[in-house]
Structures are given as structure tokens and as C-alpha cells.
Amino acid sequence: MISEIFQLEFMLRAIYAGLLVSLSCGVLGVFVVLRKQAFIADGVAHASLAGIAIGLLLGSNPILWAIAVAIVMSILLTYIKQNSTVSFDSSIGILYSFFFAIGILVISAIDTYKPDLVSFLFGSLLSITWIEVIYALALLIFVVIFIAVTYSKIVYMTFDIEGARVRGVNVKLLEYVLNILVSIAVIVSIKLMGVVLVTAMLVIPATFAKLFAKNFSQVIWFSCIYTIIATTLGIILSYILDLPSGAMVVVLHTVLLGFLVLMKAIRGR
């Protein structure tokens, strides 16, 4: 059964895409969780409905439209955070409701049934194309380069934003780039995970890593290793059990986290 999975092209596409997006999310999720901004993933995912709907309406690539909406949303969020006293969570709540509402209005203008829409909402292994695998690879390359180049600055900013500014770190620019990359990662993950479940990819591996790492250099590695295992197992199990991929991956991530936390608690007694 397992060897059969690796001979199916759509499964290979799903596993490649899953591993690539989970690695991007595993790395970026560390900064999202430590900056206490987990809601950004949920907000961007829901806002992307506007882009997906516009893409479906116009008959062009919905993912590219969703990425455009996500970038606009992340720029607006960062601008509001840096230039107003409105809380980050509140601005996410306002903007994602707005874009989601736009999405619903656009969908209501589409008079034919759009099966693609369901796959965006709940994720679908079958719908992943090679071009989406390439998007995922390009995103991972950007993420790795960005983190490698800015590592000490972005860690400093995440730990102590004021201290980082005193040290001369361009916090404003870093926040824009980080939030844009997180938004793109969310969108690229949507085909696999679905709009509703994508947040888990960013939050759960990083939460595990934060709990178990002995130092910061372990955090990113732990997050990546955790998400590679949970994503691969989730995709394979979803095929074997004929269940939705996104839901299976999230269940695996969560159950594994619960098990490991329980084991840690028992060993700590």
C-alpha cells in the first residue's frame, strides 16, 4: 500500500508540496508564535477567499489572486500596527471580515457551481498541480534566504522589539517582509490544508518546538522535523483512509503534540 502511494503522481505532488509548505510554515511559524500573532494566519487565510473568488469569477489562477489579496492585507496590517494604537488582533479581525465579505459577494455573482471552491475551503490532495509544487519550492527558497540573511536581527526583533531598534535593526522593514512571507506561506498551503485549517501548519510545530527546545537554535529545527513527520504521515493516512488531507494533517499534528506534551508531563513527575 505504502509503495503504491509513491508510484501515484498526484500523491507525489501532494507529498512534495506538503513537505515544502510545511517546512516554510515550520520556520515562519516560530516567529509567528513567538510574536504572539497566530491569528494572522487565520485572518489571511479567510481574507484570501476574496482573491480565490475573483480568480474563479475571472477564470484566472485563484492562487495568484489570493496571494495578491494576502500581500495587500499583510501590508495594511503592518502599516496599522506601526502607525496606530489599534491592536494587531483587532485590525486582523476588521480586515479579514472585510475581505471575506468581499469574497462572499463575488462568489454570489458566480452563477455556476465551482467545485474548486470546496477544495480551497477544505484542502484537496487531488487538486495540487506541479506549478503549485514549484510555488511551494520558490517560497521555501525565499524563506530560507530571508531567515539566513536576517537571522540575528529577526530573532532580536522577535524577542525585544525596542532593544532591536536601539541596536539599529530596521524593525519596520523586517516586519513588512516577515508578514508578507507569512501571508504567502498561508496561501501556498491552502490547496493542501484548506482555508479553514491552514493556521495549524504555522502554529502547532512552533508550539511543540517552543515547549521542547533547550535553546533557540533548536527551535527552528524541532519545528521543521515535527512538521515533516506529521505532514507526511497525515498525507499518507488521508490516502489510505480516504479522508480529507487537510483535516488528517491537522489531526496528526494535534494528536502528536498532545501525546508528546503528555509524555513530557509524565516524565517530569
Binding site: L34, T85, S152, V155, Y156, T158, F159, D160, E162, G163, R165, V166, R167, G168, A209, K210, A213, K214, N215, F216, S217, Q218, V219
Partner: protein, 215 residues
């Protein structure tokens, strides 16, 4: 002597309420400046203006270099601004501060921690530190780059009596070396320590009032 930092007619408003009406302050190289004031008097806000973290509503904050942020400044912020759950060790945290090799940085950290008898903290995670231990680490973080200007915001918070004494001995040494020190505090802790070029200010109702000492 040319001033290192100058605040001229600085006004600062927050949400339309005036925090400072007109602050004037000149700080020369080697000065030891103490700024005291009650809760909410704006002491930390004044430091942020000096550091360039916030901009004045009116007036001028001028520094020797174009921006004090890019100058060699050590800043001890209040430890309650720090995320104590952050999964980072003391050594990793200090390496973020250093521009030199990690070996030199670790050596410098050990030397500074030793001044507080706290070398044992180097491999600990921030989450494992007590409030006083974290404060010692934040002070050492500000010192590892051997800054010309040291800016301290309530540096004795959470420190026990011995650690406070060690801190003030250290500040006297730095003052004797010609470093500029700005120390914002609730109350005077420095009695019994002799600083050169020392000036005390009290921040009252948005005004900086120079204190006159008879000793």
C-alpha cells in the same frame, strides 16, 4: 565642552495629553545623569526620546552622532518588557547584541556576569531565571559591546542589596573611565558612591527640575 546629547524645548504629547511641556537638557561626555520621578511622570518616555525610539511633538533632540541609535549605546530596558517565555539561552541572547566573534562575545559576557557573581547563568534559558537574575543579564547585555553611552531604565528593579551595590560599583568604574551614564530610577540608590560630573534631575509635572545637593 561639546554636548553629547541635547534636548531643546522638547514637547511630547500622547493621545492629546501633554507629557512634557518644555524639556531642556544638555549631557556632555562623561556625565552621570540621574533622573528621578514618580510613577507615570514620563521617565521612560524621556529615555525613549533620547534613544530616538519616539519623536518629540515639538522641539529638538540632538545627539553627537546623527542618530543616537546608531551610536554605541548600551540600553537597559525595564525587564517587564521582556517575554520571559522566549526559548532562548542567556548566551544566545547576548550573541544577538554583539558585533564581534561569538568567542569574544561569550568571554565578554562571562567577565560581566562575574561582576554580579552570576557566571552560572550563561547556559540557562531566560524562562529559568528569577526576576533579579534576568535584570543582571539585561545589564550585562547592555555592557558587552563596551558602549560609550549607557542608558538605564530602573536598573535596580528586582536586584537584591548586594547586586545593587555591585551595580553601583560598576557604574562608578564606568563613570571614571569617561563613559556617559543616564540612570532613570524611582529613588536615589547611589548614596555613598562618588560619581564625577553628576547631576540629578527630578521629573515633576512634565518639567525637568535640577536637584541641588548639599553634600
Amino acid at each position: 565642552m561639546k554636548e553629547q546629547i541635547m534636548l531643546k524645548d522638547v514637547e511630547f504629547k500622547y493621545l492629546n495629553s501633554v507629557v512634557f511641556a518644555s524639556i531642556n537638557l544638555k549631557i556632555n561626555k562623561g556625565d552621570y545623569i540621574i533622573i528621578t520621578g514618580g510613577n507615570g511622570s514620563g521617565k521612560s518616555t524621556l529615555l525613549k526620546l533620547i534613544l530616538g525610539l519616539i519623536k518629540p511633538s515639538k522641539g529638538l533632540v540632538k545627539t553627537e552622532s546623527r542618530k543616537i541609535i546608531s551610536a554605541n549605546v548600551g540600553y537597559v530596558s525595564q525587564s517587564n518588557n521582556i517575554d520571559k517565555d522566549f526559548p532562548i539561552t542567556v548566551e544566545e541572547l547576548i550573541h544577538l547584541e554583539c558585533n564581534v566573534s561569538s568567542k569574544t562575545c561569550s568571554l565578554s559576557l562571562k567577565i560581566h556576569l562575574a561582576k554580579f557573581n552570576a557566571e552560572y547563568l550563561i547556559n540557562k534559558k531566560i524562562a529559568e531565571l528569577s526576576g533579579g537574575e534576568l535584570q543582571k543579564v539585561l545589564i550585562c547585555r547592555a555592557l558587552v559591546t563596551e558602549p560609550e553611552i549607557l542608558i538605564l531604565d530602573e536598573p535596580t528593579n528586582n536586584l537584591d542589596k548586594i547586586a545593587r551595590q555591585n551595580l553601583y560599583k560598576l557604574l562608578v568604574d564606568l563613570n571614571n573611565q569617561g563613559k556617559t551614564i543616564i540612570n532613570v530610577t524611582h529613588a536615589h540608590d547611589e548614596h555613598g558612591y562618588s560619581f564625577k560630573n553628576a547631576t540629578s534631575y527630578d521629573l515633576i509635572n512634565g518639567q525637568l527640575v535640577e536637584e541641588v545637593h548639599n553634600d
